[in-house]
């Protein structure tokens, strides 16, 4: 990538992360995950997509389309929500991937 991309590459590599959401005590319920951006290291602030929280909303996803809502407080989600953030180069071991991962990605030969 040309020199012009240096700052963007650094910003991307240093702020990119993944966020996974699961239900306390119910690992079999699976987990939801998405990507995110580290906005600040100290205090640690991460912004990610809201889609992974819909299964945990006390009032259901309808709360997201309530007319005026632009913000919902953190306690809009149930207490059983467990969140984890991973960022480079810190990631779980492959074994942990198996638990977290979605089944069945494969690499068919072209």
């Amino acid at each position: 990538m040309g020199r012009q991309w240096g700052p963007a590459m650094r910003a991307a590599e240093q702020t990119g992360c993944v966020v996974s959401a699961s239900r306390a005590g119910h690992p079999e319920a699976g987990s939801w995950s998405c990507s995110g951006v580290i906005l600040s290291c100290n205090p640690g602030l991460v912004l990610c997509h809201g889609g992974i929280f819909t299964p945990f909303l006390r009032a259901g996803s309808e709360a997201l389309t309530a007319a005026a809502a632009a913000i919902l407080p953190g306690d809009s989600c149930g207490d059983d929500l467990r969140l984890h953030v991973q960022w480079g180069p810190t990631v779980a071991s492959p074994a942990a991937c198996a638990e977290l991962g979605r089944p069945g990605l494969c690499t068919p030969q072209c």
Binding site: V18, S35, C41, L45, T65, I71, W87, T90, A92, R102
Partner: protein
Amino acid sequence: ASLEPGPPDPPVRPLGRPLQPPRPAELLLLLSCPAFRAHFARLFGGEAAEQWRFASAALDDEVSEDDEEDQLRALGWFALLRVQPDQEAAEERGPALAGASLGAVPKGAPLLACGSPFGAFCPDIFLNTLSRGVLSNAAGPLLLTDARCLPGTEGGGVFAARPAGALVAFVAAPLCWKAREWVGLTLLCAAAPVLRVARAALGNLYPSAAARLPSEVGVPRDVPLRDPGPLWAAAAVLVECSTVWGSGVAVAPRLVVTCRHVAPRETTRVVVRYFTPKSVAVWGRVVFATQETSPYDIAVVSLEEDLDGVPMPVPAERFHEGEAVSVVGFGVFGQACGPSVTAGILSAVVRVDDTPVMLQTTCAVHGGSSGGPLFSTRSGDLLGIIASNTRDNNTGATYPHLNFSIPITVLQPALQQYSRTGDLGSLRELDRAAEPVRVVWRLQRPLTEAPQSKL
């Protein structure tokens, strides 16, 4: 390796750096950008809604209606989390992140997306994968890019080359399908308005944290709903012919070229809209359209008044496979926005008797782009007219990134003659294209020579 079973070596990420476990986090708040949701409702709601899918999975994957409803409701929503501070990381990381002001990045500008396909499935392999594209279109904070993103990259950051390394947007929906066609574009929400909502909300809850959010950089332009993008892109026009609409390109102050399947019948009156950047409508009349039997899907519209302020493109004389190219067309948003810009390379130039008769590109081209211009990104020269993309009749799959254009060198002499003399003779020659040219546009192999009889 020692004989004694020691602790397993920590798995090494391709970068060769030791890995650490994930960190617990706490949800501070869910936040959305009302302007994004309003533009989304305007552009993708109403009667257009049934055409659009923003699946986080492939179109045919089993996604329950409830889940799909949830995904659609959450599309413009983001979450702010608090993570235990990581002092070491804080020291390691470079300068604080900056957010690009809304409108600071023009249409057509290159973008870098960073996300993790399939989320936390296997970060060893997929964490922070990069993808490049351009800003294809903008309607307020609702942005489109042709950088290809996959499920799991929702929430990932999109960065600009200028302002250097600025955070431009967050991925809102990586896969967009229109009328069951994958359109090869990714839906983004501009970062600046989301960060403003976060700053206001945090200001009440955690003032010290609010101060740590990225500041804005870049000259905030009041984003015209129709940012014209690169200068040469302004030559792209919208052509409305009764209920059909498509794209076109101005080739002279009162002459527009489009596709025959957009404006099929001569003498028909059409409306041509151009955006410089305000939207202006001009009446015109189809003065020429090739026959159905012609391989060249072309129509020419003569306008009743000049295209004010529209830069006339320079027609290219040569084509260089592999060169960076851009397509400008009204696919996806049609009349509701200015044209979209998608980027790629000139992937093939098909010649008959050493004369270019077909161009192929890797740009994302979809319904509504027909008739639009193909430009050389470097010079801004007009290379051709977009005619079609590719569908596999066996599977029904559409490939937006394989598309076909008519080289401008095929049309230019005839257009010049018509402009000078009003004589359609040269344009009529397009109906008499040689058989090898017809074979090419039927996507068959040009016969190199007549098969020899064995007798």
